[in-house]
Amino acid sequence: MKKKKAPRRIRTVGDNCLIGASGEYSDFQSVMDTLEGMVQDDVNYDDGEKSDAKSIHSYLRAVMYQRRSKMNPLWNDIIIAGKDFLGYVDKIGTTYEDSFIATGFGSYLAIPILRSKWRPDLTEGEARALLEDCLRVLFYRDCRALNRIQIAKVQGDDDAVVSDPYELETNWSGFEATKGDMDGDGGW
């Protein structure tokens, strides 16, 4: 959604969990309010227990499925990332975990790239480059998208970090056929 210049679609929960969401932004904000309440509850209990990515994922699953069952869904597809964990929950309470996950157009355009390029021993630099490649394709092929992206990282027990938005370099040569001039029918 590019109505705003930099909507925060990836956020941290607690210190070391990342949440990213597609879909209705206000529902995502509501989900974040709930999760921040959960983190505060942990602080108040003061007993050394911390919500980790896995329990947040399970909690969201319970919430999303219940809302769907009441015919009043939270209209989001959500990715949860944390230490040794990457999971997905969607508006009807479907869940899965995998080594790479995508929502929206990403599941059509990015997943094939990830399937061919992902390795379990990717370095951080390689992983970032791979994500940028996927996001670049998404920019090329989704007319609503901008080339402004954010990448976030959580590593081991370190605090999660979300980058500032930055612009991807793109190369439009080779797309002349889509410029829509008088010659040809705009196809390739």
Partner: protein
């Protein structure tokens, strides 16, 4: 002078002990204390923990030779169980609530309920009964044994008063002082104690709590263990006989008094 005070207390006990919400002149809630008395009348339970395990044990009473022995240890979840002393029916009601809480937590958060949180809520539940007209305190004390992935083994004791205590080792119920004395002597070595030896310690502690002419045997002894990579496991009957035999080999009985006749021949 002390007898005057005793008279004073005795005189006033009757006036202030009918309602749970009424303080006595000494600032005590007598109904709560009477409820704790119920715990002290129940047969003994012990609990002890090492670095990776918690063991709880209990002496099961039977009404007479024809009857079964009263169950004293109950599983709450894979990582948690309780030993009860006092009104069994109250204990079962509490166990039902604990099991429900653990199950709900597992459904929502996909992980085992942290034991300290559950016990704190349990203690608050006890307290609520001491501050309302229409209810009475729970007449049972619990030893809660649990192993949390994040924080390790725990042993908690709950009280009708709503107090919550955490222990390395403890005992409650009738003649439990004998067990406590034994545990006090040995608890510093518990953290490094092996699983089977921990169970033997529990049985030794329990053996001091039997009545004068009784003995610890496979019918009245009950043990449970929970720990790292070890789901809550009840050990009774023939399974506990194996450990009771070890008791006799070691020379049995407790050093804290009681005349357990665990020595064969």
């Amino acid at each position: 002078k002390s007898s005057k005070k005793a008279d004073f207390v005795a005189m006033h006990r009757n006036m202030y002990d009918t309602d749970v919400t009424v303080f006595s002149p000494e600032g005590r809630l007598l109904q709560v204390e009477y409820a704790m008395e119920s715990t002290k009348q129940g047969s003994a339970c012990v609990g002890l923990r090492s670095e990776n395990y918690v063991v709880i044990g209990a002496l099961k009473r039977s009404v007479n030779e024809m009857s079964s022995h009263q169950k004293k240890l109950m599983e709450i979840d894979g990582h948690m169980g309780i030993a009860i002393a006092g009104l069994t029916a109250d204990a079962r009601s509490i166990a039902k609530w604990m099991r429900n809480e653990c199950l709900n937590h597992k459904y929502v958060y996909g992980s085992a309920m942290p034991s300290k949180r559950l016990c704190e809520e349990l203690a608050d539940k006890h307290q609520r009964t001491t501050q309302t007209y229409v209810r009475r305190p729970y007449g049972v004390g619990l030893l809660v044994a649990a192993y949390d992935e994040a924080t390790g083994p725990h042993l908690f004791q709950t009280c009708p008063s709503g107090n919550l205590y955490e222990f390395y080792a403890t005992a409650i119920g009738a003649r439990s002082q004998s067990a406590k004395t034994y545990l006090e002597k040995h608890f510093e070595g518990f953290p490094s104690t092996e699983k089977d030896d921990l169970i033997v310690h529990a049985l030794k502690a329990l053996s001091g709590c039997v009545t004068g002419d009784g003995e610890l045997n496979k019918d009245n002894a009950s043990i449970a263990i929970v720990g790292k990579d070890h789901k809550f496991q009840l050990i009774e009957g023939e399974n506990v006989a194996v450990y009771l035999d070890k008791l006799e080999v070691d020379g049995g009985g407790t050093e804290g008094g009681g005349d357990g006749d665990a020595m064969e021949e």
